[in-house]
């Protein structure tokens, strides 16, 4: 009886795992989309909150990290932006759009870091 219960619980847990993951991704996607809407209205701090939430919900969601990096860049938090771009690229190394954002960011970041002239 007990072993039957354990087996059933295990089966239910395994069966519901993909659903739970899909739920997390779905929620993260909602946060990302809402973040985009508010960023387009210039509410970057709110966008950062949404994208941070999305990254927490789904730490494998490259778009959340990419958007977060863009928002940090806009807020002048360049170290955080770099870390977020690095994470986005680690998740999706072949994503040309993330790579393009990162290249543009690097130009600005190098200029900001340039303290002793060229």
């Amino acid at each position: 009886m007990t072993s039957r219960h354990v087996a059933l619980a295990l089966f239910l847990a395994l069966a519901s795992a993909p659903t739970a993951w899909a739920d997390q991704r779905g929620q993260a996607k909602e946060q990302v989309e809402f973040g985009i809407q508010v960023a387009q209205r210039g509410l970057w701090k709110e966008a950062i909150y949404r994208w941070e939430r999305a990254a927490q919900l789904d730490p494998t969601y490259a778009a959340a990290f990419n958007n977060l990096a863009v928002a940090y860049e806009h807020e002048g938090q360049l170290a955080k932006a770099r870390a977020a771009y690095d994470k986005a690229l680690a998740l999706e190394p072949n994503n040309a759009l993330v790579r393009q954002n990162y290249d543009l960011f690097k130009e600005i970041n190098d200029r900001a870091a340039q303290k002793d002239g060229r």
Binding site: K29, V32, E33, I36, A39, Q40, A62, A63, N66, N67, V70, E73, H74, E75, G76, L78, N95, L97, V98, Q100, N101, L104, F105, I108, R111, A112, Q114, K115, D116, G117, R118
Partner: protein, 269 residues
Amino acid sequence: MTARLRKTGASLSLLLIAGFTACTSYIEIPIETPIQPKLDVSAFQRIFIAGFIAGANEDVDANMETVRLLRSQLRNKGIMRVIDADTLPLLEIAKQNGAAEAAPPAPDQQAATPPAQPPDQEKTPVINDEKDLEQYQHLFANVAYWKKIGEEYQQPLIVTGAILFAPQQRSGFVQREQESYDPFGRRVVVPVRTYMERKGFVLRPTFVFIDGRTGETLHTETFREEILYNASQQTPALSSYFELMDRLLPAFLNTLSAQKIKGTRTLLK
């Protein structure tokens, strides 16, 4: 057979549309990145663009033009109060200070006081390259001199330095795109390597930021910009000078105040 083909075509179209929608799940957004100033100038309310040691071009007085340009830029941006005073004849002062260093110093003579000019040094020195400029660089480290200047102008932030604006000529292979039409009348652009004689200018300014209260150097920054034209093109030296200065002005201003750099980034869904 035709129905099956049509069905496959429709499925392919649907797939393509789905793929396109998936690929276009991004949005371009304008951003403005604030860049913090390289120098903390909160202790200064006034700025004095003192002048520059300049040379290498007869058509452009790089000292006067740079002083004028920087003063007007700082005024327009409202970065500190700009002191409107005569430009210092730094080349002569540097020459005199150099002579004073070479000669045994008089006991009652201050380092800031320029000595009397020996007759052979009255000629305007020729500055053609960076090496020629180097012999005058010691002036920027003359703490007593700059402290005295600072006292004269109520201890501002002093900006000085050296400007080399020189003509340059270069020849070699240049890759350019050539437009042609193929036998079917279609426009084709092909890269072509051609040997070209080119001439232009190089601008190499070094900006030295000096604390007018102590005479000490706070920050030094050197830039290098160059422009080359087709040898047959006649471009006035002054317009090239402004074009090159235009490129490095944002970086100069960013030393003193925060700048916002406009750009576009892509947000992903």
